[in-house]
């Protein structure tokens, strides 16, 4: 990470400036490409925008140094500078996005590049141009040439990708505008053809209208032919000479290979006024400003394609020029009035969609997060919480308070309505008071039975105060409560600096309420297991909660590197942060690290593990992750001051000659679509020491957004890659289906048995699967999606794939050690299951089907990315691995099959198997815990013996030594069969192993698997 001192940075840039020209060529080309890709997605955007009343305002661009114009989230910043802003946009658009998993849609967000604004050569600060990204792009090219290499090339790159994103908004807006007028100019109709080809209902784009884009103004000028030469054929020159209006110049680039797209780009580029020549007619009328968009000439629509022609045909008669004004947006204009939508009923290309009711404007502040998470059933959540026996109470035993009646002893209570637990709250501080006298230890967990319902109570003690969390036992198990409590406490500590402070201070109530509502909702909500795709198993969810790690999505090396690069580039903070008003000031924040989530998966993290965990807990318990997983967000900005565990709550580890700087730390979460980017900022240290409670810095928000947008440019397409990885079937480990293995023992007469379990129940693809004969069916089906993708993908992908196909042989066919008694397992490190090769050859029926499926899989994998290949964890002919979970404590991550991979093998038996797997994992994880604690304990005891503290009364060795491996065999009997036919039962192991380095591996395998878990772990690690 580099901390540049500001003026040093400047010099740096000058040195590097020389390489700039070389770059600019490449960059402009890149822009070109970006634009085309963006245009392709324009219909989607148009629809996206169409339903959303606020889109145009998002297209508005914040002005110069961020203070003159505020972002949308700005009004929601809390008193103490904290912000919790979520805008999910329209539900339908989210659903739409969900359906369109293969094709990633782009976000309609514009952000004015600060640098551009700062550059006084280009932009007149009195005007803000909302609708046109091209303007900036053009100008910036123009401008760069002026500046002669004073701009850092990387910086320019960033800027461009942003500028091109701006243009999306412009384009969609503009097309909407054109359509609404029902004009049938050539450009518009060709556009509509394009869109209708994509089967998108296009009428939706109408609401975008030009309302927000400002007023139209029409002027009639007499062209002034005095200065016109014969060879003046360029429209720009003509315009300047005829009317005194200088248009932004657009540099024509050599056309790219697909000229259709570049034509399209030209056509959709706006014609913008750069200025007016003094003493011209235009200047005299005083109503044409820089930034206005030239729309029509003599009612003919103007575009860069026909600009020259139109101007050449101008005769000496009066010419009617129509301009469109940009709109200046200020914070109090957030909800502009909606105007009736103009539709052209006789336009064939646009089927009229059912009228969408106007969406009630949501308050995008943090409170509505509960609404969003619960699908708008906020009241239901409230009722659920009131009905359940759950509570959070912060009770004090201070003497002066206990004398009062009433609830003065309770500093904090959630939920606010009383239940049985609040009635008996006196119990909890008493227990906390009594128990230390017996055991020298504070209570951890109590179990109560209230009217037959078991409730677990978790405690946290501080001096005379007790924090109590009570949850019903049927939802939250004892050890889950324990880890929940410790996680929540850590989170509270991170957010409020101290736990007692957090609960004692009434100001925090709102925030804590939010936290607990979301957390309890997550824990207590009814299991919606009917929706396979989105909702995790309850047991799985709980397991993943208590496993101290973040779900990690394994991308290919290339893509991972790409993400790393983008984040590093951002972290380098090498953007032009120099406020021109105050030169040489220190920067406000230095970036300590960032991490990137896609849906609930961590893609890439540049944070220390402890910080990463803080961040993860924050996102997890505020349900942000589940939200971003469930739906696509328009915008999410969260800003909080935090007290990172690493800095504030850990005993400092003294390193000679180095001390971590003191300061303030802030967490900034910026989300867009399914991406979440998390930053930890530090003020103090290298950066300026901040006073008070500063609000979110718009600059960093903008830059983070820009980075997220950068991830979605054509070159990167990270969302597409992630989605592909999530939807792909062969990149992770192959999983076997329990149903097949069980059914395999059956006669195999049923026609559908090989098909049905394989077909993902919730997958959109299953519908298109043709019904084939048994064996063929699997094969075809496996390869079909790949083919489809191929045809749909761009040439770039084609290339990549063709390279990848070369290496289609599966790896991981490692021959393990021979299975002889005692040979592969020395010193207790081993662990395998059956040396008895189970003589179950009765399952001939399934063998062929499985073989075929694995063949199909291998093929599909070859076509996928280069790095990750087919992994079959178990040896032998058949794949016997049902499920796995790999936790790496040191990296703070875990890996599990993606839902697509699970869907592939899903079936009735497999469902139950997974449930059992996760429940057993919980138990196994619990029994691993003492092993981990044991190491800590010895350390603590060492320190204790030194400090001569009171040791526990009951101390002494635990009965069991630390467990390194635990396994359970489950037997699934088919209910439909006779109990006599016991050999037809499916038996599977759930095995967990703890490795000395803290990794944990859980696998679920068939009974007959001939390997030991160490070997599998090796394979799995090697594959990682």
């Amino acid at each position: 990470m580099a901390y540049y001192i500001s003026n040093g940075n400047y010099h740096n840039r000058k040195d590097r400036g020389e390489v700039f020209n070389e770059y600019s060529g490449r960059l402009t080309e890149k822009i070109e490409r970006n634009t085309t890709s963006l245009i392709r997605s324009a219909p989607q955007l148009a629809q996206f925008g169409g339903k959303h009343n606020q889109i145009p305002s998002r297209l508005q661009v914040s002005a110069t140094s961020g203070s003159k114009l505020k972002a949308e989230w700005a009004p929601h910043v809390g008193e103490r500078g904290d912000l919790f802003y979520v805008d999910v946009g329209d539900k339908t658009s989210a659903n739409y996005a969900f359906k369109q998993k293969d094709k990633f849609e782009r976000q309609v967000v514009t952000k004015l590049d600060r640098c551009l604004q700062n550059d006084k050569n280009v932009v007149d600060s009195r005007k803000i141009i909302p609708y046109n990204g091209d303007f900036y792009r053009d100008e910036s090219i123009y401008d760069i040439n002026d500046r002669e290499g004073t701009v850092d090339c990387e910086y320019v790159e960033l800027k461009y990708s942003r500028a091109s994103q701006n243009s999306i908004g412009g384009e969609s807006l503009d097309s909407g505008f054109r359509i609404s007028r029902g004009s049938s100019t050539s450009s518009s109709s060709s556009y509509s053809e394009r869109t209708s080809g994509k089967n998108l209902s296009h009428g939706n784009s109408c609401p975008v209208e030009n309302v927000k884009s400002g007023n139209r103004k029409t002027f009639s000028f007499l062209p002034d032919f005095s200065g016109v030469h014969k060879h003046d054929i360029s429209g720009i020159t003509l315009c300047e000479k005829l009317f005194g209006i200088v248009l932004c110049e657009y540099k024509h680039k050599p056309p790219r290979h697909d000229s259709r797209n570049s034509d399209q780009a030209l056509k959709d580029r706006k014609v913008i006024v750069r200025g007016v020549i003094p003493d011209s007619e235009a200047q005299r009328c005083g109503k044409i400003y820089r930034g206005d968009m030239l729309v029509n000439i003599n009612d003919l629509e103007v575009s860069w394609l026909n600009l020259d022609e139109i101007f050449q045909t101008i005769s000496k008669r009066k010419v009617k020029l129509t301009f469109q004004e940009p709109v200046l947006i200020s914070p109090n204009q957030l909800t502009p009035p909606r105007t009736p939508v103009l539709m052209s009923p006789n336009h064939p290309a646009f089927p009229t969609p059912p009228p969408t009711p106007p969406r009630p404007r949501k308050c995008p502040a943090g409170e509505n997060l509960v609404d969003l998470v619960s699908n708008g059933k906020k009241q239901e959540v409230k009722r659920l919480l009131e009905k359940s026996l759950c509570t959070v109470m912060y009770i004090t035993m201070e003497d002066d308070i206990t004398t009062n009646s009433g609830k003065s002893d309770v500093y904090y209570q959630f939920p606010t309505s009383d239940n049985k637990l609040t009635e008996i709250r006196g119990l909890f501080p008493t227990i906390s008071g009594v128990l230390p006298e017996i055991t020298n230890n504070k209570p951890k967990i109590s179990s109560l039975s209230i009217e037959g319902n078991l409730v677990h109570i978790g405690y946290w003690n501080f001096e005379k105060d007790v924090l109590v969390i009570g949850l019903p036992a049927n939802r939250v198990d004892v050890h889950i409560l324990t880890s929940l409590l410790s996680n929540l406490l850590r989170l509270v500590e991170v957010l409020f600096s101290s736990i007692s402070g957090a609960f004692r201070c009434p100001e925090n109530k709102e925030r804590l309420d939010q936290l607990f509502t979301l957390t309890f909702h997550r824990l207590l909500q009814k299991n919606e297991s009917s929706i396979y795709d989105t909702v995790l198993h309850r047991a799985e969810q709980l397991l993943l909660d208590i496993v101290t790690g973040i779900r990690w999505l394994r991308l290919s090396e290339d893509n991972k590197l790409l993400c790393d690069e983008i984040l590093s580039e951002f972290e380098a903070a090498d953007f032009d942060y120099l406020n021109e008003d105050v030169p040489y000031c220190r920067r406000k924040y230095s970036i300590l690290g960032t991490c990137l989530y896609y849906k609930e998966y961590l893609i890439c993290s540049h944070l220390p593990v402890e910080d990463e965990r803080d961040v993860h807990l924050f996102l997890l318990y505020h349900s942000v992750l589940s939200l971003v997983n469930k739906q696509s967000l328009d915008e999410l900005v969260i800003w909080r001051e935090i007290y990172p565990t690493r800095r504030c709550h850990c005993p400092e580890q003294f390193v000679l000659g180095f001390t971590e700087p003191d300061g303030k730390w802030f967490i900034l979460v910026v989300g867009m679509k399914h991406f979440l980017m998390v930053l930890i900022l530090e003020s103090g240290g290298c950066a300026k020491q901040m006073k008070g409670t500063p609000g979110p810095d718009p600059f960093f928000v903008d830059q983070a957004k820009a980075t997220l947008l950068q991830l979605e440019t054509e070159d990167v397409e990270m969302a597409h890659i992630c989605e592909q990885r999530l939807m792909s079937e062969g990149e992770g480990l192959c999983l076997a289906s329990a149903d097949i293995l069980q059914n395999g023992h059956k006669s195999g007469r049923e026609d559908s048995f090989t098909m049905s379990p394989l077909r993902p129940l919730g997958s959109p693809r299953s519908a298109s699967t043709p019904a084939k004969t048994q064996s063929e069916g699997i094969f075809k089906w496996r390869s079909n999606p790949q083919m489809d993708k191929k045809s749909a993908s761009t040439e770039d992908y084609e290339d990549r794939r063709s390279i990848a196909t070369d290496s289609s042989t599966p790896v991981m066919r490692r021959q393990g050690s021979k299975m002889s008694y005692g040979s592969n397992d020395s010193g207790g490190s081993g662990g395998s299951l059956g040396m008895h090769k189970v003589n179950k050859s009765s399952n001939k029926g399934s063998v062929s089907a499985l073989d075929l499926s694995s063949v199909g899989k291998n093929i599909s994998i070859g076509e996928e990315l280069k790095q990750v290949k087919s992994l079959k964890l178990t040896k032998g002919q058949r794949n016997l691995l049902f499920h796995y979970l790999c936790v790496d404590q040191q990296k703070g991550i875990f890996v599990a099959p993606t839902s697509t991979e699970v869907n592939l093998v899903r079936g009735a038996v497999h469902e139950l198997l997974l449930e059992n797997f996760h429940k057993s994992c919980l138990l196994i994880h619990k029994s691993f815990k003492p092993a981990k604690d044991a190491k800590l304990e010895t350390q603590i005891e060492n320190s204790k013996s030194r400090s001569n503290e009171k040791s526990s009364v009951f101390g002494g060795a635990k009965a069991l030594r630390p467990i390194s491996e635990q396994g359970t065999l489950f037997c699934c009997r088919d209910a439909s069969q006779d109990s006599k036919q016991n050999q037809h039962q499916l038996q599977y192991w759930v095995i967990g192993r703890l490795f000395p380095d803290g990794r944990e591996l859980y696998i679920c395998v068939h009974d007959s698997v001939p390997q030991n878990i160490v070997e599998m772990a090796f394979s799995l690690q090697f594959g990682l």
Binding site: K420, E423, I424, L427, T430, I431, G433, V434, L435, E437, I438, T439, N441, K442, P443, K444, I445, S446, S447, L448, I450, E451, M819, Y821, G822, N824, D825, G827, G828, G830, G831, S832, L833, G834, M835, H836, L912, N916, K919, L923, P930, S952, V953, F954, G956, A959, L960, R961, P962, I963, E965, Q966, G967, T968, L969, F970, C971, C972, Q987, N1012
Partner: protein, 409 residues
């Protein structure tokens, strides 16, 4: 294991007795009062406080016969509640065994009842201590048996003796384990059998004794007489009878009936640490096993299955073996397996498929458990056994033991 056991009256909260096991300082009176007070406070609000755990201990509250509250403070914080509750149930039964259920239910005079309860101290302490490492009844709730080839022969001796004592209940204890018993005796509940064995074991060694007892499940109100006679060192025969015959009349009979069985008794006592016939050999990696029949609540255990006890660090001491097996049993039952113990079925019922086997490995030993319809076997292996071999060895051992004719459990 360290325990505090507190017994108080439920209505008044008067402490009846406190037993402390292990190296613990006695609890001061106010602490006892507040421990009970917490529970009472909750119950006045129709809430019953079941348990509370700290980092290193667990406290369980339970009310019996609506008159006495037992509070157990235990070291095993991770232990499933069902094991501690079972322990409390055994203890409360032991009070009934010696005092009768009427006394316990209606405490007329607290001071007098306190004095009456003093007779139970020995038995309660014995139940808490679990000093005999070869006994697993305290953990499993199943009767420890001894499977000897001589059992069939001795059965005849016992039947004859019981007839002479004019009682259907008769039993032969070897080191506290039931070797031979009459049919009626086997029909007693497991708790009764365990308590009777514990009572005899906890009492001082004497050649003959006559103790008035109530059978907690069979006849909690009508007292019987338990008469026991020492035949050899650690071999005791006992009968339960009514008012007759008196100890004096029966004592001379003992020699008459049992003299000829001397050789059999001797070999029986020599079998003790092994507990199962020498004719059966098990894998040398097995350090100990525990076979439980969950239907008839009997268990056979051995922590010295191989006659030679080889030295070396990887072989655990007898105490360690016993502790590990107990801990493994407690870990498994209530989570994966269920037994007749109340509350143990809760954990396993969470799984939709029946857990059949389970194992753990550590750096010094490995454990494997397997269950069938009626039996469960827990085996402690030395660390030398490969993990994959455990299943087949367990399977083989289980078949060997359960199919054997001598071992009738």
């Amino acid at each position: 294991m360290a325990y505090y056991l507190l017994c108080l009256t439920t209505r008044g909260g008067v402490p009846l007795f406190t037993r402390t096991e292990g190296d613990l300082k006695p609890l001061p009176f106010p602490v006892i009062g507040s421990l009970n007070g917490i529970h009472m406070f909750a119950s006045t609000h129709d809430v019953s406080l079941l348990s509370t755990s700290t980092d290193d201990s667990k406290i369980v509250w339970k009310v019996f016969h609506e008159s006495i509250t037992l509070i157990l403070v235990s070291q095993e914080e991770e232990c499933n509640d069902c094991h501690l509750n079972r322990m409390l149930e055994t203890i409360s039964s032991s009070l009934v065994l010696l005092c009768g259920v009427e006394e316990v239910q209606t405490i007329k005079n607290v001071e007098r009842f306190k004095k009456e309860l003093k007779v139970c101290y020995g038995l309660v302490d014995h139940l808490l201590q679990q000093t005999d490492k070869t006994m697993f009844c305290g953990v499993t709730g199943a009767v420890d048996v001894l499977a000897a080839p001589e059992n069939a022969l001795l059965q005849n001796f016992l039947d004859a003796f019981v007839e002479a004592a004019d009682s259907p209940y008769g039993c032969l204890f070897v080191h506290g384990k039931t070797a031979v018993a009459t049919k009626k005796w086997w029909n007693l509940t497991a708790v009764e059998q365990i308590l009777l064995a514990a009572l005899i074991k906890s009492s001082a060694v004497c050649s003959a004794r006559d103790i008035p007892i109530f059978l907690p499940d069979g006849s909690p109100k009508v007292p019987h007489r338990l008469m026991s006679f020492q035949l050899m060192k650690n071999i005791i025969v006992c009968v339960i009878c009514g008012p007759t015959p008196s100890l004096a009349t029966l004592e001379p009979e003992v020699t008459r009936f049992w003299k000829s069985s001397y050789d059999s008794l001797k070999s029986l006592s020599q079998l003790h640490p092994r507990n199962f016939p020498n004719s059966i050999t098990v894998d040398s990696n097995i350090l100990g096993f525990l076979l439980v029949n969950t239907e008839i609540n009997r268990c056979l255990s051995s922590i010295q299955p191989s006659s030679d006890l080889p030295g070396g660090e990887e072989n655990l001491s007898i105490t360690e073996r016993s502790n590990v097996l107990c801990a493994f049993y407690k870990k498994t039952v209530g989570t994966f397996f269920s037994t007749s113990t109340e509350g143990s079925e809760k954990g396993p019922s969470e799984f939709s498929h029946k857990p059949m086997d389970t194992y753990i490995t550590t750096d010094t030993y490995k454990c494997y458990a397997m269950q069938s319809e009626s039996h469960q076997i827990y085996i402690l292996f030395s660390v030398n056994i490969p993990t994959f071999a455990m299943r087949s060895v367990t399977n083989k051992t289980f078949k060997l033991l359960s199919k054997d004719k001598i071992i009738q459990i």
